[in-house]
């Protein structure tokens, strides 16, 4: 498989994630789209790392991206749960006041 095909896959996955983020107003659905975009970046990193079996920088960076994604999901979902307790909704359009 040439490297271009993997890059096309990464680009397509990123665009699908962007589509999900743009078209949904449920906070959880937006987080799902962000996870898709992070996975697309990981595909690109590992694809280039495949041709660099000595240094493996791409794989190590992909590992860091996975860790940051885990942290992001944990904090993001904690915020969503808190917001739901206060506003009784997870619709991003209705969260229009900052004062808690």
């Amino acid at each position: 498989m040439p490297v271009e095909h993997l890059l096309f896959l990464g680009a397509a996955l990123f665009c699908i994630g962007l589509l999900v983020v743009l078209t949904r107003k449920n906070a959880i659905a937006v987080l799902i789209g962000i996870e898709l975009m992070l996975n697309a970046s990981n595909i690109n990193l590992v694809a280039f790392s495949h041709f660099d079996p000595d240094m493996l920088q791409g794989q190590i960076f992909a590992l860091f991206v996975i860790t940051v994604a885990a942290a992001e999901a944990a904090v993001g979902l904690a915020i969503v749960v808190k917001v739901y307790q206060y506003f009784q909704t997870a619709d991003l359009d209705q969260l229009n006041q900052l004062k808690g």
Partner: protein
């Protein structure tokens, strides 16, 4: 066409199909389940590309951790009383136009860049590096970043627990 290639394209197709399903389904719970398939497909791609440790971490962290968090998030932020967990789709055409436009830009850019002709990609023969090499790199050259990312994860988890915990009053029933 080698058998590895066929498996790789199979995983790529699985990933793309389930991602498209996420984009076009309205039910958030179905989207979360399809996300499992996407993550497993991406893990298969990693495995076929010789990144076995990243693939295993992908399964452990995404399928075992993030997916459970997302499903819990869906359950905690919806009133599950008989009706489906649906989120309507807004700005359908504008969003589709932006996504397709961005993909066309990426497509043209990747074709123009012609990565296959790069020297270090042509000279390299794709081999599956042994796992111990990855471990040696992680524990020698990148050990500082590795420790920092561990501290970041710990801080994020403590922060998430602190943020989501709530003091329940006596007699106040959980919804």
């Amino acid at each position: 066409m080698a058998i590895e290639s066929i498996i790789l394209y199979g995983f790529a197709g699985l990933t793309l199909l389930s991602a498209l399903y996420i984009a076009f389904t309205r039910n958030v719970l179905y989207a979360a389940i399809a996300l499992i398939v996407t993550f497993l497909g991406v893990a298969g791609i990693f495995m076929m590309l010789g990144a076995s440790f990243v693939a295993i971490s992908q399964v452990l962290v995404y399928v075992g951790g993030i997916l459970v968090l997302i499903v819990f998030g869906i359950m905690l932020t919806n009133r599950l009383k008989g009706q489906k967990v649906e989120s309507p789709v807004y700005n359908k055409f504008l969003g589709l136009a932006v996504a397709v436009g961005l993909f066309i830009i990426f497509f043209k850019g990747i074709l123009q860049a012609n990565f296959s002709a790069l020297g270090w990609i042509q000279s390299a023969e794709p081999t599956n590096p042994p796992l111990e090499k990855f471990g040696m790199r992680l524990m020698t050259d990148y050990v500082l970043a590795f420790e920092l990312i561990g501290v970041l994860l710990l801080l994020a988890l403590i922060g998430a627990v602190k943020m989501a915990s709530f003091k329940r009053k006596e007699g106040a029933d959980a919804r």
